[in-house]
């Protein structure tokens, strides 16, 4: 579980996050959604420590990060897996070396043990036999799956995903979404996904946080989002022609 209390962030005089408080539950896929520029990615970067918030606190299992000593922060980082928007795979390394990288850095396992763990996670993301390829030699969807494999190879307690299906076709995007949800449930981890894709909301949105202009304007579940009267949320959800048509059909049936 990750709790955020009154989180504020600003660049210069521009306020990006304006006092956000919420809780991300363990064993659930927690979504942060909103339009481009609403502060989703900045919030994610604050959560994983890439940006230092100007105020507020972030607690991992009731331990505020700003009260952790260096050793505790180092341990916490080893418990975090991150799926970046572009995959962020290391170009100069093979797929196997990419996935093995966190193990090499933080564990004392033998090479053979590390390779068998790499094969295990590659199998888990349905990518057998690509060990010796380089990231440039595989498709975007495969790169995302490799990135997920790298994120989970150390059995993280927390998984962060920044726009996991951006640039992917709808079918591959659904595969990635389902994979993230399956890993979340099977490993009982706290997963936070930043997205503006309504299909992801439909697929994996167990807990949803809606941001607008740096303010958390709505929280709820997948079922709630289609029933809410919040104008900002309905504007966002029904900005898609497909969802407007679904709503019209539902209204006709009623």
């Amino acid at each position: 579980m990750i709790a955020v209390d009154n989180l504020k962030m600003q660049f210069g005089s521009e306020e990006i996050l304006k006092g956000i408080s919420t809780v991300f539950e363990q064993g659930k896929t927690n979504l942060i959604i909103g339009q481009s520029g609403s502060g989703k990615s900045v919030m994610l970067k604050c959560l994983i420590g890439l940006l230092q918030p100007v105020a507020g606190s972030i607690s991992y299992h009731n331990k505020p990060t700003n009260q952790m000593n260096l050793q505790q922060q180092r341990i916490l980082r080893e418990e975090i897996g991150m799926l970046f928007q572009g995959g962020a795979l290391f170009d100069s390394m093979t797929i196997e070396e990419n996935i093995m990288f966190p193990l090499r850095m933080f564990s004392q396992q033998s090479t053979s043990n590390m390779i068998s763990r790499v094969n295990e996670v590659l199998n888990r993301v349905n990518l057998d036999g690509v060990n010796n390829k380089f990231p440039a030699e595989i498709s975007g969807g495969m790169q995302k799956r490799v990135s997920i494999a790298r994120a989970i190879v150390n059995n993280p307690k927390y998984l962060f995903c920044d726009e996991p299906n951006s640039g992917l076709d709808p079918k591959t995007a659904t595969v990635i979404d389902n994979l993230i949800q399956r890993i979340t449930h099977e490993n009982d981890i706290t997963t936070i996904v930043v997205t503006h894709d309504m299909n992801s909301v439909m697929e994996i949105g167990e807990r949803i946080n809606f941001l607008k202009n740096g303010i958390l304007v709505w929280k709820g579940t997948q079922e709630d989002i289609f029933k809410t009267n919040n104008q900002d949320v309905t504007d966002f959800v029904y900005s898609s022609n497909l969802f407007r048509k679904i709503r019209d059909v539902q209204n006709q049936n009623i």
Binding site: G49, L50, R77, E78, A88, L89, F90, M105, F106
Partner: protein, 245 residues
């Protein structure tokens, strides 16, 4: 004001580069890779430039010393002094600012653009130590390149002078040995080490702190070349004042 901020961030980068060390076996591997990428891969161009510029220095000197009173040995003496004191350490370093410096800036800059540096940080790895420290250590072997440039420059001068008919082999050898001051080699290698440090860290700073996309990587590489060259020339002046005047 911005320049002061940049200088501050450069020194903060150096502080972080030499702290929170990456695992020793990983670092060892990275250092060997960097020696290959930065030093060994430059051997060809440094040898080529060293040899032919040495030849040109000899030709220019010989063609300008037409007075029969001036001994022919002076051609070799001038070639040796030019190559050891300035050409090999300073001008090869400026050429390397273009080759190695641009490579360092663009490779680190690309990692910044594609979030690979963020990925390292999220994993709890000190990205500066992981990326920059091996380059600094690898460039400790840089004087090896400069020594080769010195040797080939003098060899090029000898071949151009002797086979061009400007000076005999005996005269050239005598000229090379004339008034040789061993401290000049110490001076040349001291400044080579300083240039090596500039070559590793200034382009790394430009790549690490760049913002934007692919276009900005190119701009950062150009800026890195300009600033690395400026700093090498400036450091050259200071070291010459300190050690030779």
């Amino acid at each position: 004001m911005k320049y002061l901020q940049d200088i501050g961030s450069y020194f903060l980068m150096l502080k972080r580069t030499f702290s929170s060390y990456t695992k020793a076996d990983v670092l060892r591997e990275l250092i060997f890779k960097e020696i290959d990428d930065l030093v060994m891969s430059s051997l060809g161009i440094v040898s080529f430039i060293g040899f032919f510029v040495g030849g040109v220095i000899t030709l220019q000197t010989a063609l300008n010393l037409t007075d029969p009173i001036i001994p022919k040995e002076l051609v070799a003496f001038a070639t040796r002094q030019s190559i050891i004191l300035e050409f090999a350490p300073t001008f090869i370093s400026i050429i390397m600012a273009g080759k190695v410096g641009s490579f360092i800036t663009s490779s680190i800059g690309s990692m910044r653009v594609t979030e690979q540096i963020d990925a390292l940080e999220v994993m709890g790895i000190n990205s500066l130590n992981y990326l920059v420290f091996p380059k600094v250590i690898a460039l400790l072997t840089y004087p090896f390149l400069i020594a080769i440039a010195m040797f080939l420059g003098i060899l090029g001068g000898l071949i151009a002078g002797v086979y061009g008919g400007f000076v005999s082999l005996d005269e050239f050898i005598r000229g090379l040995q004339e008034d040789f001051i061993p401290f000049h080699l110490v001076y040349a290698f001291v400044k080579t080490y300083v240039f090596a440090f500039i070559l590793a860290t200034v382009p790394a700073w430009h790549g690490y702190y760049m913002k934007g996309g692919a276009l900005e990587v190119g701009k950062a590489s150009t800026k890195s070349f300009v600033w690395t060259s400026v700093l090498i020339i400036f450091a050259n002046y200071i070291i010459t004042q300190l050690l030779l005047s």
